[in-house]
């Protein structure tokens, strides 16, 4: 079963509140919950991992958290230690993910005065059929015209200061997962991306029971031909004083 987005929602958080509240509507136990956060500005904000969540990647300007849902995560506060920082977050529920260790790899970087960012994970996708989601945060309105390459789909458009896109791969990726996200107005910003592994199907165990073969060594019929070791002499007396010898050579029989 391919990984699918069950629900996804966008959230904003301000420095005044010191948190962004991410909510899910009755998540299904066993599904994977993913939260992406990017800031609007550069800084040294330290994100705090909420209890029960796993830090897939935490940087000063972006974070990626995940957890296998127990069905009760309807509202979670994601906080940071620094002061007035505006953040934008996505909460995504995924079905069809690995039951215990869905997170695979991540990537992060910052950029200056760009209208595009290449999001890519640090490592090659571990398995086939992974799901990837990335987010770009920027310091002002992006002007629209948001795009995502490599068959990624924008989670939504029009959020002006962050753009997110995702893709469920089919087959072996054979490398890092990557997408180029573009927008209209030159901005400074940062991006984060993560990939998640699909559920493992029950392995098929192919077997072959070998049956031996036999080599038969067959004796052949042989002819035994004895040779008499020496000639046989026959003598007869032809007359007085004459003895003749006849030498007979036996041929094999």
């Amino acid at each position: 079963m391919a990984i699918a987005e069950v629900q996804k929602a966008h959230f904003n958080g301000t420095g005044a509140s010191g948190k962004v509240v991410v909510t899910f509507t009755a998540p299904t136990s066993g599904n994977t919950l993913v939260v992406l956060i990017t800031t609007e500005s550069a800084g040294t904000d330290t994100f705090v991992t909420p209890a029960g969540w796993n830090a897939g990647r935490v940087q000063n300007e972006a974070a990626l958290y995940w957890r296998v849902s127990n069905g009760t995560e309807t509202s979670t506060d994601f906080t940071w230690s620094a002061g007035s920082v505006t953040v934008h977050a996505w909460g995504i529920e995924l079905s069809g993910t690995h039951a215990s260790a869905p997170f695979d790899s991540s990537g992060y970087n910052t950029f200056t005065t760009n209208t595009t960012a290449t999001l890519t994970t640090d490592a090659t996708a571990a398995v086939a059929d992974e799901y990837a989601v990335g987010q770009v945060g920027m310091n002002g309105a992006n002007g629209g015209s948001e795009t995502a390459s490599n068959s990624y789909t924008l989670l939504t458009t029009g959020n002006t200061r962050d753009i997110a896109a995702s893709r469920t791969y089919s087959g072996n990726q054979g490398g890092a997962v990557t997408t180029d996200i573009g927008w209209l107005t030159t901005r400074v910003g940062r991006w984060i991306i993560g990939s998640f592994k699909p559920a493992i199907a029950t392995p098929t165990n192919y077997t072959m029971d070998h049956i031996k073969a036999n080599i038969t060594f067959t004796g052949k019929s042989h002819t035994l031909d004895p040779h008499i070791s020496g000639p046989v002499d026959l003598q007869y007396i032809a007359g007085p004083g004459f003895v003749h010898t006849l030498r007979e050579h036996r041929t094999p029989y």
């Binding site: 398995v127 086939a128 059929d129 087959g171 072996n172 054979g174 699909p198 493992i200 199907a201 029950t202 392995p203 098929t204 165990n205 192919y206 077997t207 072959m208 029971d209 070998h210 049956i211 031996k212 073969a213 036999n214 080599i215 038969t216 060594f217 067959t218 004796g219």
Partner: protein
């Protein structure tokens, strides 16, 4: 599934030392390394003419994704004679189970050969291509006949 191994035509001669006195390629079941290698359906066994692993290895499953070029070793090779029966038993331990990973791999034939001398011994045909999923970590288990990989008899 149960499959009878097909011995290559020259196997008995190579057990006896090869076709010529100068031939160094022979099967020594007591000391050589015996391996089981997986081959794709691109391989067409020629029982009469196939003799060397290097001559058919172009159709072996590619290295990686749970398969190692050359195949898996069949340890504990053990030639034994059963007194009173005129029977020789050429036995070996089952090769290590193959577990697919990554993109997985496909195969159809299992070829048993002498990796020390390069000489082929026999092959088993699964009958159709087996596609091993790496994502699912599919496995392939070859179990040798308890009576041996092959036997010899003298009437």
């Amino acid at each position: 599934m149960a499959v009878t191994i097909v011995l290559y035509g020259k196997t008995p001669i190579n057990i006896m030392g090869g076709e010529t006195a100068a031939e160094t390629k022979k099967i020594d079941w007591s000391s050589d390394t015996i391996k089981a290698a997986l081959f794709t359906s691109a391989y067409t066994p020629a029982q009469d003419t196939d003799e060397l692993y290097s001559g058919i290895s172009a159709n072996e499953v590619a290295n990686g994704n749970g398969y190692t070029t050359g195949g898996n070793t069949c340890t504990s090779i053990d030639p034994a004679y059963t007194a009173g029966t005129n029977t020789g038993k050429f036995d070996a331990a089952d090769p290590t189970v193959w577990t697919a990973s990554g993109a997985g791999f496909s195969f159809r034939y299992v070829v048993i050969y002498d990796a020390t001398s390069d000489v082929l011994i026999g092959y088993l045909d699964y009958g159709s291509t087996v596609t091993m999923s790496g994502a699912n970590a599919d496995t392939f288990t070859l179990t040798f006949d308890a009576a041996g990989v092959f036997t010899t008899t003298v009437p």
